[in-house]
Each structure stands twice: as structure tokens, then as C-alpha cells.
């Protein structure tokens, strides 16, 4: 007996629990499951590891030496900020009960974890563990956007942008899809958008907002002709590998269980990453004559971003095709954004995360079909129904992200300003803004 049950907001972000036919799996209200808890505690550590130091190093290696510390600093400070805000009110806004406004907003009930004790449960894991696990998603999402405006945005502007963005873009989007809001089951689109681990909530929000930020902050001086190569592919590879390992927590942890659902999510995640890496490497080899390390690890990130929304719904075939499609689409999207659109989305957040997240979200509709190895469609729904809902989810969240990001950035620009002076940019942010240098060898 294999069944996909849609669970109410109580059951967590993935919105899905995979049920096996034995009592060991039965989810009874109020009984803690130590094994699931152990896995989500671990997953929380893994997802934090993705940002600190994973993403920070991945991004840090891609910029000029004179800005490496500023990138690490952006990621680190944003992570701290997101953590405190999450406790203060973001968690409540995302996963609280918004009462009559619940379609849009989670309300103020869980501000500063009000009413949550050590023995409070969320499904069958402690609510503190769920809180922490979800916090790590709120940490990485604004950190992803950093890639769009490295090497030129003011540090104070980065902090303001991240704060406002988390409140007005991230928390609502998480609520809509994972917190029982308007895009989840029974909401606006009926059967709900399927986003297992954040194809929309994380990657589409970050990717589209990054594009807006890149436009608003403007190109780096000398872009595109005089930009220098990544100062340390070694750092970038190190960070990429940490992202891969951490992503096991991201996707397989989103099952919120320690069972076959987590196992299958981990499997498809890994397969997509490996496949997309090889696809990118192959395309690069064919097209530019040399398979590069930066290329293969970019492919890996593309594969992981793509499979993220699908990871709880598809089987190995789905994972494999996510890798193929994500690798290829992001490969072509990357120079297209930079050269055709002329947008200096410096570390390709939109092309990799945005495009990957969208691709995977659409593929979720297709590869959930049991005949393709998937774990099943919603009861009574066709692939077409799912495709529509998924697309609608993307459009709604992307539009919201774009509009709000624009407004926030405009406001910052008009007040404290978005961008450092040309002298500071030339000199580098490390020494001018943070008073340090990356290396004194």
C-alpha cells in the first residue's frame, strides 16, 4: 500500500508524509518520534552547514580577492540576522496560525516562540526542532541573493534589504506554500502547489529577487569586459561540496521523517546533482573545449536547485531527468542573462537557482506520475492540473518577489543608498568596509 497523504499545516513544510503499511509509521497525534527527531536535528546541522561555510565559500571563491571577505561577511551577517528575526517574528508569520487572514499571513501568535515549550510537538517531532530546521531555510535564502550584488553593494544596504525581504517576501511565501496559506492544499489553487523542499519558496524567490537586485544595484565597474576570473576555484569547490552534502539535509530532511520518504528524497537529490554536473561538464567541453571545475560545480548546484521541489514526489527517473534538464537549461541561461539581457547578476543566482527552481517545479507535475517512477498525483488530478497549479504558483510567487524586491531596493536607494562609491569599489570592499584583507601570505 503506497499512498501520498496531504497533511494540514500541522504536518510541516513538505506538506507530505509518506506512509508505509506498518504501525511503526503511524503518525499519532502527540507522540514524539525519536528517530525522526534525530534525523531532523541532523538535517538542521546539515542545512546550516550549507550556508556557513558552504555557500559563503562557494561565493567567496568566485569574486576578486579584494572582496572575498565582504562576501563571507554578507553571508555570515545575513545568517545571524535571519536567525534572530526568525525567532522574533518570522517563524510566527510563516508557520503560525493567521486566523481569518491565514491565507496570507501566519499571524503573531508564535512571536518569540510564545507558547512553544521543549515538549511541544509539530507532527511527531519537537516544535523546536521544526523551528530550527525551518530557520536554516530562512538563513540560506537571502544569503543566496547575495550573489547578485557582490563586490559593490553597501554593507548596511545588504542588511536592510535582507531584513525587509525576509519579512515581506520570504515569510509570506513560506506561509502560502508550507504554512497552510493560499497556495497550499485547499487554498487558491485547490490541490495546492507541490514544493517539497523549496523550489519556489527558496529558489524562485531568491532567483527572481536577485535579478531585480542586480538591475537596481547596477553592473560592476568594467562589466563585462574587465571582470577578473574567480580568485579561488579551490574555495568555490570546497563550498560546492559542502552544499552537496548539506543538501541531503535540505531535501531528505524535508520529509520530516527518517524512513523511505527521506531515503528516496536523498536518492533523487543525489542523482540529479551528479547528472547535472556531468551535463554541464559535457556541454562546456563541447562548446568551449575545456571542462572546468567551476563549470562542474555550477552544474551540481543547478541540479540540486532543480530537484529540490521535486525531491519528495519523484523516483530515480525523475531525479535523473531533473539533472539532465536542470543542467542544460541553467547552462544556457547563464550567459544569456549576462550577455543577452546584459544584467550583471554576478554569481548567476537567477540563471542557476531561479531557472533551476522553476524547471524542477514544473517537472514535479510530470515525474510524480507513478508510471514514471513517481510517488503519485493528487487524488483525482491529472498531470495537466498539476502543471497548471505549479505554473500558477511560480507566477504568483515570482511576481510578488519581483515587485516587493523592487520596492525595498528603491526605498533603500533613496535613503541610505545601495551602492558603494567607485573608489571603494576599485579599492575593494574588504579593506574599505571591513578593514581587513583576505590573505596576508
Amino acid at each position: 500500500m503506497r499512498a501520498i497523504l496531504k497533511c494540514g499545516s500541522l504536518m510541516g513544510p513538505a506538506g507530505l508524509v509518506f506512509m508505509a503499511g506498518t504501525p511503526a509509521f503511524a503518525q499519532e497525534g502527540g507522540v514524539l518520534n525519536g528517530a525522526n527527531t534525530a534525523w531532523i536535528l541532523t538535517s538542521t546541522a546539515l542545512v546550516l552547514f550549507m550556508t556557513l561555510p558552504g555557500l559563503a565559500l562557494f561565493y567567496g571563491g568566485l569574486v576578486h580577492t579584494r572582496n572575498v571577505l565582504s562576501v563571507l561577511m554578507h553571508c555570515f551577517a545575513v545568517a545571524c540576522l535571519a536567525s534572530v528575526l526568525w525567532l522574533a517574528f518570522l517563524y510566527s508569520f510563516a508557520f503560525g496560525d493567521g486566523g481569518s487572514a491565514n491565507a496570507f499571513f501566519g499571524g503573531f501568535g508564535k512571536i518569540f516562540l510564545a507558547g512553544v515549550a521543549a515538549d511541544s510537538l509539530w507532527g511527531d517531532i519537537p516544535e523546536t526542532v521544526f523551528f530550527m530546521f525551518q530557520m536554516t531555510f530562512a538563513i540560506i535564502t537571502p544569503a543566496l541573493i547575495v550573489g547578485a550584488f557582490v563586490e559593490r553593494m553597501k554593507f548596511s544596504a545588504v542588511l536592510w534589504f535582507s531584513t525587509l525581504w525576509l519579512i515581506v517576501v520570504y515569510a509570506p511565501a513560506a506561509h502560502w506554500i508550507w504554512g497552510g496559506g493560499m497556495l497550499s492544499d485547499g487554498g487558491l489553487l485547490g490541490m495546492g502547489v507541490r514544493d517539497f523542499a523549496g523550489g519556489i519558496v527558496v529558489h524562485v524567490t531568491a532567483g527572481t529577487s536577485a535579478l531585480v537586485a542586480a538591475v537596481m544595484v547596477g553592473k560592476r565597474r568594467g562589466f563585462p569586459g574587465e571582470i577578473t576570473p574567480p580568485h579561488s576555484p579551490v574555495l568555490t569547490m570546497m563550498g560546492a561540496a559542502m552544499l552537496w552534502v548539506g543538501w541531503f539535509g535540505f531535501n531528505a530532511g524535508s520529509a520530516l521523517t527518517s524512513d523511505g520518504a527521506a531515503g528516496m528524497a536523498m536518492t533523487v537529490t543525489h542523482i540529479s546533482a551528479a547528472t547535472a554536473s556531468l551535463v554541464w561538464m559535457g556541454l562546456e567541453w563541447l562548446r568551449y573545449g575545456k571542462p572546468s571545475l567551476i563549470g562542474i560545480v555550477t552544474g551540481m548546484v543547478a541540479g540540486l536547485a532543480t530537484v529540490t521541489p521535486a525531491s519528495g514526489f519523484v523516483g530515480p527517473l525523475g531525479g535523473f531527468v531533473c539533472g539532465l534538464a536542470g543542467g542544460a537549461i541553467c547552462f544556457f541561461a547563464t550567459p544569456w542573462v549576462k550577455h543577452r539581457l546584459g544584467i550583471d547578476d554576478s554569481l548567476d543566482v537567477f540563471a542557476v537557482h531561479g531557472m533551476g527552481g522553476m524547471t524542477g517545479t514544473m517537472m514535479t507535475a510530470i515525474f510524480a506520475v507513478p508510471a514514471l517512477g513517481g510517488l503519485g498525483l493528487a487524488e483525482g488530478a491529472s498531470i495537466g492540473d498539476h502543471l497548471f497549479v505549479q505554473a500558477a504558483g511560480i507566477v504568483i510567487v515570482a511576481l510578488w518577489s519581483v515587485v516587493i524586491s523592487f520596492v525595498i531596493l528603491k526605498a533603500i536607494d533613496l535613503t541610505i543608498g545601495l551602492r558603494v562609491s567607485p573608489e571603494v569599489e576599485t579599492e575593494g570592499l574588504d579593506i574599505t568596509t571591513h578593514g581587513e584583507r583576505g590573505y596576508s601570505l
Binding site: 569586459g225 577578473t228 555550477t298
Partner: protein, 112 residues
């Protein structure tokens, strides 16, 4: 005395050093430099974008020699550093007025 300054390919450093010791030159100072010349830099492509790297890694060797050794030193460098390809580098010869060995205070050719 002369100061011979040679800009060569990094991979030839050891050969040049050996060639010089063979003709009795026991001291030199090397440093990593970036060269610009006929051997054009290259393009690196990351994620489909071209990055122009104008400067090529080179090694600069400075050798202080007695006047009479200068010719042979230059020849030795040429032989050891040459690969026949663009970018093999240059040898420059500068006049040098004095040389001192810090440890002993010896000066002139004795200092070398």
C-alpha cells in the same frame, strides 16, 4: 659589474639555475612576475563568460655578475631558457656600480 635581469618562463627556472651554476655563478634572486608581450594572455571562460587575462606568469631572475662573466651568463640563460616559442622572455643588462655582502661587508666582485 652588471645586473642581469632575465624574464623567463616559470618552467625553465631550474634549468637556468643549473646552467648558471655550471659556469660558476653561485647566486641569484628570483621572483614571480606577470608578463605582457607578444605572447598574448589568454581568455578563461567561466559559465559562458570570457575573462581576459592579459598577463602571463613569468619568473624574473636577477643576477649580479662581474663584467667579464656577463656574456657567458647571458648565453647560458639563453640556452637554458629557450624553447623557441613566443614568450620565452628577455634578458636585460644594467650597469651596476657597487655590490656589498651584508654579512661580511665585502664589496665589489667579492661580494657576489
Amino acid at each position: 659589474m652588471k645586473l642581469i635581469v632575465a624574464v623567463i618562463k616559470p618552467s625553465r627556472l631550474d634549468q637556468v639555475r643549473e646552467a648558471l651554476t655550471e659556469i660558476g655563478i653561485e647566486g641569484m634572486t628570483a621572483s614571480e612576475v606577470k608578463g605582457y608581450g607578444r605572447q598574448k594572455g589568454h581568455k578563461e571562460i567561466y559559465r559562458g563568460s570570457e575573462y581576459t587575462v592579459n598577463f602571463v606568469p613569468k619568473v624574473k631572475i636577477e643576477i649580479a655578475v662581474a663584467d667579464e662573466l656577463a656574456e657567458r651568463a647571458m648565453q647560458a640563460i639563453r640556452d637554458a631558457a629557450g624553447t623557441g616559442q613566443i614568450g620565452d622572455g628577455k634578458i636585460f643588462v644594467l650597469p651596476m656600480e657597487a655590490a656589498v655582502r651584508i654579512r661580511t661587508g665585502e664589496s665589489g666582485n667579492n661580494a657576489l
